[in-house]
């Protein structure tokens, strides 16, 4: 009995120690990331390549999922508001939810699943095949060459994708409003303008920016410290996705808290 408890404590201790070491390594990587962000060489070409990569990977899914997310929100909200004969408000309510929460969070999830996972797998493969060592041995920092462009591109791309998500989500909602609830277009637009403020959109964009930074640094970090052949690559990829999703949700809560006070 005692032994079980002890070994349980031991493994808990190991887990905590592992987390602390991980946190230390993550901090070091972030420090190096900022070091190289403001230093030559600025790899503009690589940043654009990553823009294309993140955009290409995510755009079709963002398009499809935003239309359906907007539509399903419109459906549910329209139904409830219909009880009070206030279907005209459905666009406004959907818009508020999309702008503040759903657009940045859903985009964060989509980009994590598509681009983040691919980044983690790619860098992990380079780690286990000694390609990162080779790069370093040639006097080129892998952080500068691989991680900085990915983080910059993801961070800047996320607000853009989030804006697309918001716009197309509203289109999805509008179509439902038109077809199912016969909402008048001018009412839909007027209510939307009345309830969704520019500051809401700004708040959502800020979240998207932060999520972009989080998901790309976590993906690169997990790839960078991968170990142990093909299995290690798989593990790094899974861990990157899980850690990114959780962190996005947790950070989302705290940003919302701060934004409400501000």
């Amino acid at each position: 009995m005692m032994e079980v408890a002890l070994s349980g404590l031991e493994s808990l201790g190991g887990l905590v120690r592992g987390q602390i070491i991980g946190l230390g390594r993550f901090t070091l990587l972030i420090r190096e990331l900022f070091f190289w962000m403001v230093r030559r060489p600025f790899r503009i070409q690589l940043i654009f390549k990553q823009f294309e990569f993140v955009g290409n990977k995510s755009l079709s899914i963002v398009t499809l999922s935003s239309l359906f997310t907007g539509a399903v929100l419109g459906l549910q909200i329209g139904k409830i508001f219909g009880i009070f004969k206030a279907e005209g408000l459905m666009g406004a309510a959907t818009g508020k939810a999309l702008a503040l929460e759903l657009a940045p969070v859903m985009c964060g999830f989509i980009v994590t699943g598509r681009a983040g996972a691919a980044m983690a797998a790619e860098i992990a493969t380079m780690r286990v095949n000694e390609q990162l060592d080779a790069m370093e041995a040639m006097g080129v920092s892998p952080v500068s060459y691989l991680i900085v462009p990915r983080v910059i591109a993801s961070t800047l791309m996320m607000p853009l994708l989030s804006a697309i998500f918001l716009s197309l989500g509203l289109v999805g909602c509008y179509i439902i409003g038109l077809v199912m609830f016969r909402v008048d277009t001018s009412v839909f637009v007027a209510q939307l303008q009345w309830l969704v403020w520019v500051s809401d959109i700004q708040k959502g964009m800020t979240k998207a920016l932060v999520f972009g930074f989080i998901l790309s640094t976590i993906a690169c970090y997990k790839g960078f410290h991968a170990r142990g052949g093909a299995k290690g690559v798989g593990e790094a990829t899974t861990q990157a996705v899980v850690a990114s999703l959780l962190t996005i949700l947790i950070v989302d809560f705290f940003i919302s808290l701060v934004q409400m006070k501000g």
Partner: protein, 267 residues
């Protein structure tokens, strides 16, 4: 009697290209380097030999600074680089070229882009100059016209030769080869061996460090041999000194006999 390190080295006081002082390295609970000390002289071809898993690749990675010692000091061209900032290492590495044991090519790039990678980073060349330079490097390693080939399609021997072309691309003054001929047919091995000699003749002051299991080419090419055993430099000396050495461990290693103090391979 093993020759203690340092004893048979030249009396002239040149600064060694590489100097390890009591270097220790542990992975988890596996001690790989256990107080490793040695000096490599400039202008020489030094061979590092030793059994599989003794830490030869680990040693070469310490020279180029992608691994760092737990304890001990490493000097490159007389400069203490242990615990030096990364920028000092980056400067030192520009004069080094390393051929990794498995080539370590970037598999998202073509062969030509791999060879061009260090040149692009450190020199401003026109596209024409760059492609000429890449072609001549690929010619040198016996892979003419491979510029557009994809890395995943190459054989291991071809990968290593591309890795060698890449290591040579910035005209390094210290060339490190990790098992350049392992896994190659006799003709290509011969080509690589003569390439090592040729580079040495062509580039004045070039120092080469070669890890090899091919004892015949070691005895033929080496200016000095370093025998790594149990995490330390067990013996150093010229090929003649090694042949004459009566230490049973060294004799067993040179003759490749299964009987002796090294015991039988586990596999």
């Amino acid at each position: 009697m093993a020759i203690p390190p340092g004893q048979s080295q030249s009396k002239t006081h040149t600064i060694p290209v590489v100097c390890f002082k009591n270097v220790r390295k542990t992975f988890g609970n596996q001690q790989v380097l256990r107080g490793l000390s040695f000096e490599l002289q400039p202008g020489e071809i030094s061979f590092i030999i030793g059994r599989s898993g003794e830490g030869k690749s680990v040693t070469i990675k310490h020279i180029i600074g992608v691994l760092h010692p737990d304890v001990g000091e490493i000097f490159i061209n007389g400069e203490l680089l242990t615990r030096a900032p990364e920028t000092s290492w980056i400067r030192a590495r520009k004069n080094m070229g390393l051929l990794f044991q498995d080539g370590a090519l970037f598999d998202s790039m073509t062969v030509g882009e791999n060879v061009a990678f260090p040149i692009r980073e450190f020199e401003q060349l026109t596209p024409k100059e760059l492609s000429l330079r890449v072609e001549s490097l690929l010619d040198l390693v016996g892979l003419p016209g491979y510029g557009l080939a994809r890395v995943p399609d190459l054989s291991i021997g071809e990968r290593k030769r591309v890795g060698l072309a890449r290591a040579l691309s910035l005209n390094p003054s210290l060339l490190l080869y990790d098992e350049p001929t392992t896994g190659m047919d006799p003709l290509i091995s011969e080509l690589i061996d003569s390439l090592i000699l040729e580079m040495q003749k062509k580039i004045p002051g070039l120092s080469s460090v070669v890890i090899s299991h091919d004892i015949q080419s070691v005895l033929r090419l080496a200016d000095r041999i370093f025998f790594l055993h149990e995490g330390k430099m067990y013996a150093t000396g010229t090929p003649t000194e090694f042949r004459a050495n009566t230490d049973p461990i060294i004799q067993q290693f040179i003759t490749g006999s299964l009987k002796g103090p090294l015991g039988q391979p586990i596999a």
